[in-house]
Symmetry: C2
Subunit: 374 residues, 2 copies
């Protein structure tokens, strides 16, 4: 099968390629062999993905001449914690013969796998090379580029981790057909985010192709993924350590994270929370005249067309705490990206551009949250 597109993520000391295609999962071997000089790879995956894809990936790695071992851990966001990390890294370090610094880690799975396996790779023997083979749309367009690895802590999500760049990413759009529709929709929220902050023509594409995307047409998804990876790669390349414009990727996430935290992690999907966060941010932006009322409506409509929520009422199972303005504001003030208690908002400036605002008032935030309740 042909590679549809290759995107280069340009980083100061180590650039890498993201391959996006249809049917490329079974061809990960050559990419891995290039970065595994010692000829040994350990696949880290979860209990959901292992029965689906560990075998074709292993086979491809073996064909490329690698010795392959597979470690898995129980699927689920609740296992993205230090206990599971400790269990996985100790099993990795206990392999016989022992791994060495030339051993390659292959993170095979969704965002939880990428984050946890990436953190294992970042810290085993003080850092092993790793490649990512994502299996969800959210991981394809978000977690696979940026070098963020992490596990959750009792005090909050992703609070323990490291920046650790992969050597390669291989994305197969064909695997998304096995993804539950709700998971596909989860990833589409991040695609809308990229469109709003960076690329108005991507918004046109998503609007036009919404039905094809929702029915997981592989070629269309591959195109979508390639464009989103390119956007994220460009943003990250300019700001590897998150000092400046990379913060634009937090569009929709300030309130989104607060909704997730207030609702209890796992009870609200990330993409749904981010969709509500984007609607609120657009409300604030429209109130400031940064976007027109038409543009604000357009964002809401594309989210709706993708079956994403635009009001709290669109999520009938949402716990009442997740809609409570006072609680949400308190959580936002404690966000790890807040500086000295100042909540920073990323707002669209027209569609396709964004900027960071430190001066969003409590009243603006409250009004935007109330609009979600309307």
């Amino acid at each position: 099968m042909p590679i549809v597109e290759t995107i280069v993520v340009e980083l100061a000391d180590r650039s890498y390629e993201v391959q996006v295609g249809v049917g490329v999962l079974a061809e990960v071997g050559p990419a891995a062999a290039e970065v595994a000089p010692a000829g040994r790879a350990v696949i880290i995956t979860d209990s959901n993905v292992r029965p689906l894809y560990a075998e074709p990936v292993s086979r491809s790695l073996v064909s490329a001449g690698l010795r392959v071992e597979v470690l898995d851990f129980p699927a689920g966001e609740e296992h993205k914690d230090l206990a599971t990390y400790g269990d996985v890294i100790n099993r990795l370090l206990g392999l016989s013969p022992p791994i060495d610094r030339a051993t390659l880690i292959v993170a095979l799975g969704g965002g939880v796998v990428g984050d946890l396996a990436g953190f294992v790779a970042a810290t085993a023997l003080r850092g092993l090379e790793f490649i990512i083979v994502p299996t969800t749309l959210l991981a394809d367009v978000d977690a696979s580029v940026g070098g963020k690895t992490a596990v959750d802590a009792p005090a909050g999500k992703n609070l323990i981790g490291a920046f650790h760049q992969p050597r390669a990413v291989v994305i197969d759009a064909a695997v998304l057909k096995t993804l539950p529709p709700a998971e596909l929709i989860n990833g589409l929220a991040e695609c809308v985010k990229h469109a709003v902050i960076r690329d108005r023509s991507l918004l046109d594409f998503i609007e036009r192709q919404a039905p094809a995307l929702l029915s997981a047409e592989a070629e269309m998804l591959a195109k979508l993924i390639a464009r989103n990876v390119a956007i994220k790669a460009a943003v990250v390349a300019g700001d590897e350590r998150e000092a400046g414009e990379r913060a634009h990727l937090n569009f929709g996430h300030t309130l989104g994270h607060a909704i997730e935290a207030a609702g209890g992690y796992g009870r609200v999907r990330h993409g749904q929370a981010v969709a509500l966060g984007m609607v609120a941010a657009c409300r604030i932006a429209a109130g400031r005249g940064l976007i027109t009322a038409d543009e604000e409506r357009r964002v809401r409509e594309v989210l709706s067309a993708l079956s994403l929520p635009v009001r709290f009422a669109d999520l009938p199972d949402l716990p009442a705490e997740a809609c409570e303005p006072g609680r949400l504001r308190e959580i936002m003030a404690h966000d790890k990206k807040a500086r000295g208690g100042v909540v920073r908002f990323v707002l669209p400036v027209g569609l396709g551009r964004a900027a960071i605002f430190d001066d969003v008032t409590g009243q603006e935030v409250l009004s935007a949250i109330e609009a979600l309740s309307g």
Copy 2:
């Protein structure tokens, strides 16, 4: 009190200063304030060091305008593990108000504290700035420069960690007077190592000043520390990620680590094991004509003058397994620095220079170990 010397560790993207002096512990505040823009510092220390030095360090930080909190964990090598790391990082992340990315970590203590607190700093919120205030000679001359952080795993020492450079190191030679003599001797082994691989005149200094050093004369120790920090800084600056000549710092460590592992960690001191490793490496070097018999004897004599062992019999409590040649060779083959099972030895080439050898034969190693038994 005057700063005796400042050594700059030159790194690609972030250099930092090591201040070595007498009585400087209580003056850490200004150095910390410079790198803690948010005005908040968290001291991480252990239960031995806290009652001795947490107060003067806190006072100095507070005087410099910082808000200060102290976290400690139980002293002892056996607590340098993932469980203690998890406990400390979760207490750090649970502080109220929550820490943010501008919070400074101050690692106050010996090697275990520096390694564990450094790993906490490397991974909390994906990386916080930290400074090191070491309180043992070993930490002064070894752990304080190089950016290595780690905890131990069931499979071996320092197998879980990250490279994370401090923003500053403040070394007070006066605190070493509270150090048990055995701990002081432990650190002197690394000083001999630096002398043999890089600086013959340092060997002269150590020979001449051995009695003053052993009685913990602060000014003499400050001079010793400054020279050793400068050597290590030069080596690390040339090779931050351990690809090349930094490996010279493993002189004495290949066999030394094996003796520690075979004897059971905590039963043999690191410095003692490294002393035996250096004697063995010098034996191999002398056998190859890389150093003269006189030079070999000189290294043994300086070690003896510092109360360090030069034969297994100098350590009456050493478990029999720690002297067993077959067991030691097996452990060396599994060392994380071994490549494809090839054991690499750092050997002196004359005194004051070293090189890496991949071709040391099993017979040479056996003979050298047997010489330790003689």
